[in-house]
Symmetry: C2
Subunit: 132 residues, 2 copies
Amino acid sequence: MNIGDVSTAADLPAKTIRYYEEIGLIRPARGQNGYRSFSQSDLHKLRFLGRARALGFSIEDCRTLLALYENEGRASSEVRKIAESHLRDIRTKITTLDAMRQTLEHLVSTCAGDDRPDCPILNDLGGSAHEK
Amino acid sequence: MNIGDVSTAADLPAKTIRYYEEIGLIRPARGQNGYRSFSQSDLHKLRFLGRARALGFSIEDCRTLLALYENEGRASSEVRKIAESHLRDIRTKITTLDAMRQTLEHLVSTCAGDDRPDCPILNDLGGSAHEK
DNA sequence: CTTGACCTTACAGTCACTGGAAGGTCTATC
DNA sequence: GATAGACCTTCCAGTGACTGTAAGGTCAAG
């Protein structure tokens, strides 16, 4: 398979696939014409990577997870440790974003949003709540 | 005030303040020695930027918000539009992260996390759920 | 007059791609 | 055999918002 085929099959941009090769996540063979020639195993790895990235794992986590996936003698505790760490990061991000959301929802709800210049959002950003 | 003083006062790294000058968000004066000399107005802008960034607004949004803040004839609808758009982005991010969290929580809970190689997390990433 | 804390610029690196230029290859049609 | 268009290649630059580091200038205290 050429890169266009795996791109469709794995639902990843060709650019991304080339990038994954560049950083050593995959090592597709090459044809005589210099084109990358992808095996079923390459495609399988790309799908693995696509799913892991969709769950928010970093590239380095993906590299480790892929190595564990290929290692028959792995301990599932290794995998779980990575997933739990990532889960903690996600929970932290959600908490942060939720605080932003609440603040913004409050500010937006108190802003008239009309032609007049008076604006609680700008007042808050300007620090009026703390200064007065 | 020198950069160290405003850095403390605005709770922003000096590096970040220099960067904000570089991209034209602030224009502090310069002393004879070449040091940046910050006014109270500069400090006020930096605090504004710090709060806006803490709410997740992009630098370009911050640039616009700061201009609106300084513009006495602004319409609050402009501000509200930006805040609402940003709020939508945040809600989308939360939704995405929450889906990741749920999937990961499920996977982590079904993984023994011991010495054995069998691992539902890797099985899922490998696509077993779809293949069988 | 030296030490050390502060300041300066300039350049590289981060993360995970994405865009674009310049060119080679393949397939189908004329 | 020529040509068009779709594919492939590499290489370099850009994204966002900083952060790190190197090499050097300035200032106040002792």
